[in-house]
Amino acid sequence: MHLLLKRGLQNYNMSEILVDIRNMTFKREERVIYNDISLSIPKGKVTAIMGPSGIGKTTLLRLIGGQLKPESGNIFFDGKDIPRLSRNALYETRKRMSMLFQSGALFSEMSVYDNIAFPIREHTNLPENLIEKMVLMKLEAVGLRGARGLRPSELSGGMARRAALARSIALDPELILYDEPFAGQDPISMGVIVRLIRSLNDALGLTSVVVSHDVPEVMGIADYIYIIAEQKIIGQGTPEQIAEQTSPLVRQFVNGESDGPVPFHYKAAPYREELIRKTVFTNNRRG
């Protein structure tokens, strides 16, 4: 059993890497978001990046997409170092990836159909009847063929996310970055999206990166998981390995315990003291 696991992992390491982050440090003004972090995204798999809110998950996706530049270190996409690409090379590389934003980011002044046709019209010179076939195919894949004429404001949250998903696969990217795809979804559309991510990944041979803090969904969908906290990776492995890890940090996150190595309370003076001192504090504010 142990041997089997080891061999599996070796095979895993041997599989091709699409995105490789090496010793990357990123700061927002003075605040360090990532400190010398390294991680690899294997080709053709669903890799999940988990961590509490505000830890920098969206930031990581923007770093991979070249919208932010790290302080130091490398972010390789298929061997190209994203932060050091010229503007044109970066835009060429972005045509091979796609990002599903947390808000969906559909263009509000266009219909669902035009939203999905948008990247095709921008980047190809295909005739309109061919574009229509492609758009309908993508809409069918997310189950929204009947909603093509609606405006984004007429869609429910789950439908908007699926429409955005259709748009992000419009040009068959190699890499798709999902920012919190499960956040704020009702259980039914959550299930739909979980299945879509998996089936798109396998049917189209995509590489998927799913950023999320929803532990059960991620455990169900991911091939490999990284857990981020305190500017670093605190745990990684397949869902089974994560479930077996004993590190208290990982345990706290996976089990959703409110207190543990990561304190529930933002750093503060002792509560008792604060209660006694409260009047003084308010007076100071006024004075």
Binding site: R62, G65, Q67, Y91, E92, R94, K95, M97, S98, M99, F101, Q102, S103, A105, L106, F107, S108, F118, P119, E122, H123
Partner: protein
């Protein structure tokens, strides 16, 4: 000490803002647009920025012309000079009121709308999403809006002055009895093409440039929150109005002083 620190930070913020605005303008405009894709975008924006500003420009221009004629007539008639009503109204409109008031109205109507629209696109991640689709938002969103503003305001200014003169004709000639032939011919004699009309066009182009630049920059640079968008929209109207009024003084001094 604290004040020095505060002033220093303010100064740095202003200078870096100017730098960001310059970079925005240069990166948006420094490329040759694809006419097949760019032209429909420009037409859309000409409609949103220009055509939708027509009503306020025409109504305001008419009323300003009417008021000018009314006020001018009561003053001029005291000297028996009501024949000069035509040129008085035309020169006030063409030299000053046309470019300035049209610009202020444009800042309030079109400038604020541009800022709010771009700010909202930023807040809802539409701009980021364009970038990730390998479509440069500076070229796709900012550039057509900038050109549309630059083209629209000079045309709106010309219309403002024209309907203003018609409004003055209505009050001066049709209601107060100034001779129509005199109204037009004295005006024609007094208005100089180069000195008055060309200068009016130059003013309106400068104002169009400044207002549209401020409007697109404020939207693109805003905090992507509802508070940030509302602040940016206000800043667009306030700052472009101040720029228009101060630049108008400078331009007038340069154009008409000798």
């Amino acid at each position: 000490m604290k004040q020095v620190y505060f002033l220093g930070r303010k100064a740095i913020a202003i200078i870096s803002g100017i730098g960001r605005a310059l970079i925005l303008l240069i990166s948006a405009l420094a490329h040759v647009p694809n006419p097949k894709k760019g032209f429909p975008l420009l037409l859309n924006q000409l409609y949103a920025v220009g055509v939708l500003s027509l009503v306020i420009i025409i109504v305001s221009g008419t009323f300003i012309g009417m008021v000018l004629a009314l006020q001018g007539y009561t003053i001029l008639v005291g000297y028996g000079a009501e024949a000069s009503l035509g040129p008085m109204v035309a020169l006030s409109l063409i030299r000053e009121l046309g470019p300035v008031i049209a610009a202020l109205l444009f800042a309030g109507r079109a400038g604020s709308a541009l800022t709010a629209e771009i700010g909202l696109m930023k807040a809802t991640e539409q701009l980021s999403s364009l970038e990730m689709m390998a479509v440069d938002p500076l070229r796709r969103i900012i550039a057509p809006r900038f050109w549309a503003g630059l083209i629209s305001l000079p045309l709106l200014t010309a219309m403002f002055s024209a309907v203003g003169i018609l409004g003055a004709h209505l009050v001066g000639v049709d209601w107060l009895g100034v001779d129509s032939g005199t109204f037009w011919s004295v005006m024609q004699g007094q208005v100089d093409f180069e000195k008055d009309i060309v200068n009016s066009i130059i003013k309106s182009i400068v104002f169009a440039f400044v207002i549209t630049w401020i409007a697109v920059f404020k939207g693109y640079d805003c905090d992507p929150t509802s508070e940030g968008i509302s602040k940016a929209t206000t800043a667009t109207v306030v700052q472009s109005s101040l720029w228009v009024l101060s630049l108008d003084f400078i331009l007038t001094a340069l154009m008409f002083s000798n």
